[in-house]
């Protein structure tokens, strides 16, 4: 009963973060359609729930799944994309809903290895087409450059440049305080849940091939997976017995709360000011 209640609370929090003042923050452009923003917010709320089930599909326990869902709900990039019309946010819902059903089927059939081998081919199709079509725009060094930008600490923790005129540039994709938990989650998944990490790596390559990099924001599709990795990292850290590490983790958790407060303040107070000067430069539905 308690986990379900917690999940509801997380989803309510997610809804509040995505819907509160949605018509005014960020400010509207002449192309803004409020109902589409609400669609996007709904997708973000649904994704919070999806992340919970996704984590469970990776055989993570309920506590870890809840932590993953909470991490997704407060992810700076997910909040930013959940409050504007974002096709990639809607794509993420379809992709991960499909992934949950696929995983459910695959793990039951126990043919994970086959799927792991097939994934590269599936994911290689679109980048392959891009590369053939735009190969003069995308030499190998550009792809490598894109790849390194995507995993650069600057993009991950300090400055999200994937939506130059309308984005929340003063924050990274995630909070800095997530870093130790992310490392823990990655190491754990290297030794255990390779499928999770393989998916992140493939989304990474997939995004780096995009001719519209970084504005295509394809890397956003990996946010639910990052959330699971971080959630797992937090759950593992809770199990540590050493007093020194326990103190360190408590400090980090306090810092997460402080960064969360910083995000909320910046998003609702300063972000509208910074975006309002660029409204004429934002094309498409915002």
């Amino acid at each position: 009963m308690l986990p379900i209640l917690t999940l509801y609370l997380i989803i309510i929090q997610s809804a509040l973060l995505r819907l509160w003042k949605i018509s005014s923050v960020p400010p509207q452009t002449e192309n803004t359609v409020i109902i589409l923003r609400i669609f996007s917010a709904a997708a973000g709320i649904l994704l919070t729930w999806i992340v919970f089930y996704l984590a469970k599909q990776f055989n993570l326990n309920r506590k870890t799944a809840l932590l993953s869902a909470w991490v997704y709900s407060v992810f700076p990039w997910a909040i930013e994309q959940g409050r504007i019309f974002s096709s990639v946010n809607l794509t993420a819902v379809v992709l991960f809903l499909s992934a949950i059903f696929l995983l459910k089927y695959l793990f039951k059939k126990n043919n994970t290895k086959l799927i792991l081998r097939l994934i590269p081919f599936v994911f290689a199709v679109i980048p392959g087409i891009w590369y053939i079509k735009f190969k003069f725009l995308l030499p190998v060094t550009s792809i490598l450059n894109n790849l390194f930008i995507l995993i650069s600490p600057n993009l991950l923790f300090y400055r999200n440049i994937t939506f130059w005129w309308g984005g929340l540039k003063e924050f990274g994709i995630m909070f800095l305080s997530f870093l130790p938990f992310l490392i823990t989650g990655i190491i754990k998944s290297i030794t255990g849940r390779k499928f999770l990490l393989t998916s992140v790596v493939w989304l990474l390559f997939f995004s780096a091939f995009s001719p519209d990099f970084p504005e295509s924001r394809l890397f956003y599709l990996s946010v639910p997976l990052w959330s699971v990795l971080i959630g797992n990292g937090i759950a593992i850290s809770f199990r540590l017995k050493d007093k020194f590490y326990k103190t360190l983790i408590i400090c980090l958790l306090l810092f997460i709360i402080y960064e969360y407060a910083q995000l909320l303040h910046y998003y609702f107070r300063h972000y509208p000011i910074s975006v309002s000067g660029n409204l004429d430069k934002i094309h498409g539905i915002f």
Binding site: L144, N145, F148, P153, N154, F157, Y158, A261, I273
Partner: protein
């Protein structure tokens, strides 16, 4: 017995030969010219040999005032015997770095063997670490120039190696603490790194020292004695210890303060002050800035594609590590965290974190020079990553990939750096000085525009100018520019105006005066001599009116 253990002496011998060839091959001409800092240290070593004083006339200084940046003196001291026997030449200036660069390769090999003493594959990892360091673009660049850090890393590595040996033999512990103290004279960054590494080592081996605390007494006395001259110098002038640290510090840069002001202004006067301080306080903003600086050193573009973008630490279109290193660095990092014992793991991770701290506190990041000590954990992690390869076919393929990567780097460093980017190393001054020497007797004044580096030092260096005479003749105002550098106004018949107004000079030139002006400052014809770079582009022009 393991293959690598049986053949280790052959392997390390071959690695050292290769490391030496790469480091000594055309040492005087690649990079194509002495950088100002190199020329300065060379001339100061010459000055100390001749007069016992540096260029400023300070007797036996523990920090060289130099261009106002107060250089640590160890590298200059090491140049003295070479200058004594070879003369004041490029090769004498660069030899200490190159020799200690090769020695560092061997030292790293020894360090890994002793650090991983209980580990089955220690010889394999030690040899791969030595090989990685021997062919490392980062290490080759630094050990072929007199930029302090190649010497610094040798002494730091030696100190840590002796410390681990000292756990069993007290004499080594005394030597270790002396070397730690001595290393503080090698590079500013070590004044942060070395104490933190000592602290880390004491914590890691705390059981041993808690049992026998008296074992630390003598080493600590030796440490204090070895840094005493530095402390004495600091009491007279605080720049002796901190040098230019203030002007490159993150706290000196106004970026963070301006950001805070902008955000507080946006909050408006009506916002409660406690609320504004909670969100926009300096502690949080500086924490973000310093952590961003710290983490910028893990950016793949910096490590594997572009490298350091500050001259002269650039290698054209090359990272400071090889591209395939990226993969093995990750594998090795995970291996170190999960497969190594607690002590080596903590040692290497701690070393890596500590090495990046000095650079994180400055605003010019990422920087390969200030983080050079991170090379040790980076190389060991790469080697650990490579050591997991067992399949012969995979080893063959990876070897081919590395051969291609190394070949590319060699072409970029040994050919393209001089051919296309000679300006990064202030190319041209040698020819300018030689040409000036031929015709100087015809003029009453020689005016050299102080634009590219510090031209006075090249005149002193290449003319082997009598240091005693220079110390009495030098005209200095000791006024630092915005970057903390002090310029020399002139000596003898030479003048080095910092902001030469060329149009004004042409309107009212001095009679019987030679003007030497960078080509970037004037496109005027009428010059009678021109110094060009290897591509044929004009660098300096000689005028007389």
């Amino acid at each position: 017995m393991e293959f690598f253990k049986r053949k280790r002496f052959t392997f390390i011998f071959l690695i050292l030969i290769f490391a030496a060839i790469i480091r000594f091959y055309r040492l005087d001409t690649i990079p194509g010219s002495l950088y100002t800092d190199e020329a300065n240290q060379g001339y100061n070593a010459f000055s100390l040999l001749q007069t016992g004083k540096d260029e400023h006339g300070f007797f036996s200084p523990v920090s060289l005032r130099s261009f106002g940046d107060w250089k640590p003196p160890l590298q200059t001291w090491l140049m003295m015997p070479f200058i004594k026997f070879i003369g004041l030449t490029e090769i004498a200036v660069r030899l200490p770095s190159a020799i200690l660069g090769v020695a560092s390769v061997y030292l790293l090999y020894l360090f890994i063997i002793i650090l991983l003493s209980d580990f089955k594959y220690r010889f394999r990892i030690a040899l791969l670490s030595a090989w990685s360091l021997a062919v490392s673009p980062w290490h080759i660049l630094e050990s072929r120039s007199a930029m302090l850090v190649a010497v610094a890393i040798f002494f730091l590595l030696l100190a840590v190696y002796l410390f681990i040996k000292g756990i069993r033999n007290k004499i080594y512990l005394i030597l270790s603490f002396f070397t730690f103290g001595f290393s503080l004279y090698a590079y500013y960054g070590l004044r942060v790194v070395a104490p933190l590494l000592i602290l880390q080592l004491l914590v890691l081996y705390r059981q041993r020292f808690l049992q026998k605390p008296h074992h630390l007494f003598l080493p600590l006395v030796v440490l204090v004695l070895s840094v005493l001259p530095l402390i004495a110098g600091f009491t007279r002038n605080r720049d002796v210890l901190f040098g230019r640290a203030r002007t490159v510090s993150v706290f000196y840069d106004r970026g963070v303060k301006l950001k805070q002001w902008e955000l507080m202004t946006q909050d408006g006067l009506e916002a409660p002050s406690i609320f504004v301080r909670f969100y926009h306080n300096k502690a949080y903003l500086y924490l973000r800035q310093i952590s961003a600086n710290f983490l910028s050193h893990f950016d793949g573009r910096y490590l594997f594609l572009k490298g350091d973008t500050v001259q002269p630490f650039q290698i054209p279109n090359t990272g400071i590590m090889y591209l395939p290193d990226g993969l093995f660095l990750i594998i090795g990092g995970v291996f170190v965290l999960t497969g190594f014992g607690q002590l080596p793991k903590k040692m290497l991770i701690g070393w890596l974190i500590i090495s990046l701290i000095p650079a994180a506190l400055t605003f010019m990041v990422p920087t390969s020079n200030r983080t050079f000590n991170a090379l040790v954990p980076f190389m060991v992690m790469t080697a650990a990553g490579l050591s997991v390869l067992r399949n012969k076919r995979a080893i063959f393929v990876i070897s081919l990939v590395y051969m291609a990567a190394t070949g590319y780097f060699f072409r970029q460093y040994f050919i393209n750096l001089n051919s296309y980017h000679s300006d990064w190393w202030n190319y041209g001054w040698r020819e300018v000085v030689m040409q000036t020497a031929k015709i100087s007797s015809k003029y009453d004044n020689i005016i050299v525009a102080d634009i590219n580096g510090m031209p006075y030092i090249y005149y002193l260096f290449y003319n082997r100018y009598d240091p005693g005479k220079y110390q009495t003749e030098a005209i200095r105002t000791y006024t630092a520019d915005q970057f903390g550098f002090e310029h020399v106004e002139g000596f003898d018949k030479f003048l080095f105006p910092n902001q030469l107004d060329w149009p004004q000079v042409k309107r009212s030139p001095l009679k019987n005066t030679l003007y030497i002006v960078p080509a970037s400052l004037t496109a005027d014809t009428g010059f009678f001599y021109e110094v060009k770079d290897p591509q044929g582009l004009a660098l300096f022009r000689f005028y007389e009116f």
